[in-house]
Symmetry: C2
Subunit: 118 residues, 2 copies
Amino acid sequence: MSDALRQFKSEIFQGLAHPTRIAIVELLRDGELSAGGLIEKLRIEQANASQHLAVLRAKQILVSRKVGNQVYYSIRDRALIEVLDILRRYFYAQLDSTVTMLKEAVNERPKTRPRGHR
Amino acid sequence: MSDALRQFKSEIFQGLAHPTRIAIVELLRDGELSAGGLIEKLRIEQANASQHLAVLRAKQILVSRKVGNQVYYSIRDRALIEVLDILRRYFYAQLDSTVTMLKEAVNERPKTRPRGHR
DNA sequence: CGCATATATTCGTAGTTTCGAATATAATTG
DNA sequence: CAATTATATTCGAAACTACGAATATATGCG
């Protein structure tokens, strides 16, 4: 696989490698929002939001269009939504396996009739 | 969506946010490889590879098993392969649209019968 | 025009990541 | 046990990232 493609992928990942930027992409999942709209929901400093938006624009994850005074942002390609959805499932799968492991650990050391390890 | 989930996603993205680490995950696509095997294919410093492997282990993207002298790495969950595949398609889609844009730009300014702008 | 609103940029500081060089640890072999 | 091989960790320097405060730019409005 080409270096260019790997480079590209790593840049997309860098673009998404911050909880605030993930929150932004998720807020835009159902359509565009203005910068102000985003800031209001994110509850962070205006400058900070604008910086994160600049990162997402630079990586071409978002596109913007200006309407009068405001700038509307939207996701450039739904593929990224798909990626976030995969990771959500992945997250719960990991959680599950952690819970299962914990349960097994508990069963191996019963509380009610302690007996030492077998 | 929960903060924990966003945090989790951003950590996965951080884990993948380096071309070398993407290369590692891709090398492991078809099964496990030893650290040494990876280093050989990556052609980077041993210490550097080991550091990247540590990052991927910390984010639980890879799992390792020790066999004698060597450590074999593999991908913990195929979901991440799926993510890389989506981004490959995404990459080519973006390339296409760039090429299309360039073609249009050329057509709007024909070479053979120059005529000024408009 | 002058003022208000929306958004972006710049700056300084603190924290993080990356790298190679050096060193440490662990298993294997003679 | 000493030497060898495979891998991991630590260290210091350079590069990069994130944040809020301050400032800049652009549009709209009276």
